[in-house]
């Protein structure tokens, strides 16, 4: 554990230095983390990678909601934690030539977007950087305290629309209302791609917009996970019959996701 920094009203950013070094990790993939103390819950919890530092450090943006996240937030600098990963399948590769990409984040659902934006803006040897004008983040929460690290997202140099249900910061309303507002004001073209991560009712609303307007849509799902590696069948999500995941009625969030195309799985 390199550092633990508070973020928002109930979040922390954990910076960890793994004992092994990783190359570029795909945005949207996740790690299972748990504290190494006896008092920590025994089953690790899944967290999307938030940022990958040049030094090899990895960052995780975590909302403290129960004993597992509490144990991680209470770890001390210098302590070891247990990490299993990288796991799962992340966001599709972002390329310059596609339609503009709107990311819709709700609360702690912003975590898998930072690294995606970072990588899109940096490009790779094989793939040119994406023009910042092609990328928009609509970031919503019940109040300003739940817009974790909002300033860090704004520092990326892309358009960020903060929105709060209580109007305490940014657009007064939810992310879908903010999205509709952008379209009404003609700030976005009608043809865009949508990526979303946040509470399920929010993602359902985003998926509905995508269906109504026939837009490509992906989301990153959170489920309880027993193992993270595809052996326990605890993280089942219902598949869509006509989707690309085949005819089996359930998929495993940990190995088939956590990022899914909206046409492939059902939000419950």
């Amino acid at each position: 554990m390199v550092s633990i920094r508070p973020s928002g009203s109930d979040g922390v950013v954990l910076t960890v230095r793994p004992f092994m070094t990783f190359g570029r990790l795909d945005a949207g993939r996740f790690f299972m983390l748990r504290g190494d103390e006896e008092s920590s819950p025994a089953i690790p919890r899944p967290f999307s990678l938030y940022r990958q530092g040049d030094s090899g450090n990895l960052e995780f943006l975590i909302k403290v909601i129960g004993p597992g996240t509490e144990a991680l937030a209470q770890s001390r600098v210098g302590e070891e934690i247990v990490m299993i990963g990288p796991l799962g399948r992340g966001w599709p590769e972002l390329t310059q030539d596609g339609k503009p990409l709107i990311m819709l984040a709700g609360g702690i659902g912003s975590a898998p977007f930072y690294i995606a934006l970072q990588q899109a803006l940096a490009g790779t040897d094989q793939r040119p950087a994406v023009d910042p004008g092609q990328l928009h983040l609509i970031y919503g929460g019940r109040n300003k305290g739940l817009l974790y690290d909002i300033e860090k997202f704004e520092e990326l140099g892309i358009a960020v629309t903060p929105c709060t249900d209580d109007g305490s910061f940014g657009f007064h309303g939810n992310v879908v209302q903010a999205l509709e507002d952008h379209w009404r004001q003609s700030r976005f073209p009608s043809e865009v791609r949508l990526w979303t991560c946040g509470p399920e009712p929010m993602m359902r609303a985003v998926v509905k917009v995508a269906e109504d307007r026939d837009l490509q849509c992906w989301f990153s799902l959170e489920t309880y996970m027993g193992c993270g590696v595809g052996i326990c069948n605890g993280c089942a999500v219902l598949t869509c019959k006509e989707g690309s995941l085949g005819s089996w009625p359930v998929a495993k969030c940990c190995v088939d996701g956590p990022v899914f195309a909206a046409r492939d799985v059902q939000l419950t």
């Binding site: 748990r34 819950p41 025994a42 089953i43 690790p44 597992g68 247990v82 299993i84 489920t223 309880y224 996970m225 027993g226 193992c227 993270g228 590696v229 595809g230 052996i231 326990c232 069948n233 605890g234 993280c235 089942a236 999500v237 089996w248 009625p249 359930v250 190995v255 419950t268």
Partner: protein
């Protein structure tokens, strides 16, 4: 290095450590984390004759000292298991025990017969005791006569060694163990998860969609050990201990009460690579005590107690 080789109902195993069914996929999923040679044997997730989509979500929940699950035997059925899963097992180091389940007594026998033709499967474990189907009624593991009939059907259908996996949710597990032995079981796995549940009182909601599920992990170790002890006293066939085992000390404790081998389950969720090193830890632990073979530890408790009784 101490010798961990283990004879289990005719199987020659590298060590006495097996993966518990349902916590290791079909083994293939774990190949990168746990090489097959690290294990005595892989026990597959339960396979049923027909596909089962499993139970509704949520299916899992961690509790204070263990893990609740209600997966409900999600599997693609025996045809897919034989044609796809088994077809992709190509590790010559793998000793594979296929775990089979059934909705009726006949289904167990049909599955056993079909798998008898699969050379990659070295033995069968019969899941008499899944708590997450049939509403937790445990129809095959709470009544001696039924357990005996299922095992006799399986025994008649296969030439491979067959193990019966028993439930700890009974008053006298020895009775079920003796019945399974009488039915022709070559060994017994003791125990499956115990019935358990959790609730969110604020919302008035169950933690598992099925309300009741199977409880596993460190909390059940003393119960599993007591069951293993009672069964070891009662039967002549080998017993595989299972329940809350996560380190070499735990393995040796179950051997000491009379088990021939052990299975490790929930510990693989805490650390999916734990089985990659457990056999080495076991060996190191025995070396430290100057014990040459793990088999020597097996049954130590009963021998000592008999000795003491003899001295009285």
């Amino acid at each position: 290095m101490s010798d961990l080789s283990t004879r289990l109902a005719g199987l020659a195993l590298r060590n006495p450590i097996l993966s518990a069914s349902g916590t290791f996929g079909h083994g293939l999923e774990m190949a990168q984390l746990v090489p097959a040679r690290a294990l005595g044997a892989w026990v597959s997730k339960t396979v049923t004759l027909t596909p089962r989509p499993g139970n509704p979500m949520p299916r899992i929940q961690e509790t204070e000292a263990g893990f609740l699950n209600s997966i409900g035997l999600e599997n693609r059925g025996l045809d897919a298991y034989i044609n796809e899963t088994l077809a992709s097992v190509c590790d010559p180091d793998a000793v594979l025990i296929a775990n089979i389940g059934g909705h009726t007594e006949e289904e167990f026998a049909i599955a056993a017969a079909r798998l008898d033709d699969c050379p990659k499967v070295q033995a069968l474990e019969v899941n008499l005791s899944c708590p997450n189907v049939d509403g937790g009624r445990l129809p095959y593991s709470t009544e001696p006569a039924t357990a005996e009939r299922v095992m006799a059907g399986v025994r008649a259908a296969t030439t491979k060694p067959v193990f019966a996996k028993l439930s700890g949710n009974v008053t006298r597990i020895e009775d079920i163990a003796l019945a399974a032995e009488a039915g022709g079981a070559d060994g017994l796995t003791v125990i499956n998860t115990l019935l358990g549940m959790g609730v969110d009182w604020r919302r008035g909601e169950p933690q598992l969609a099925t309300v009741v599920g199977g409880y596993s992990g460190v909390a059940i170790k003393p119960i599993a050990m007591r069951c293993a002890w009672q069964v070891c006293q009662a039967v002549k066939i080998p017993v595989i201990g299972c329940g809350g085992i996560r380190n070499a000390e735990d393995v040796l404790e179950f051997l000491a009460v009379g088990c021939t081998a052990v299975q490790v389950g929930t510990a693989s969720f805490s650390d999916p690579a734990c089985l990659a090193t457990l056999a080495q830890e076991l060996s190191a632990c025995l070396d430290e005590e100057g014990i040459a073979t793990s088999a020597e530890v097996s049954g130590r408790l009963a021998r000592n107690l008999q000795c003491e009784a003899g001295n009285l």
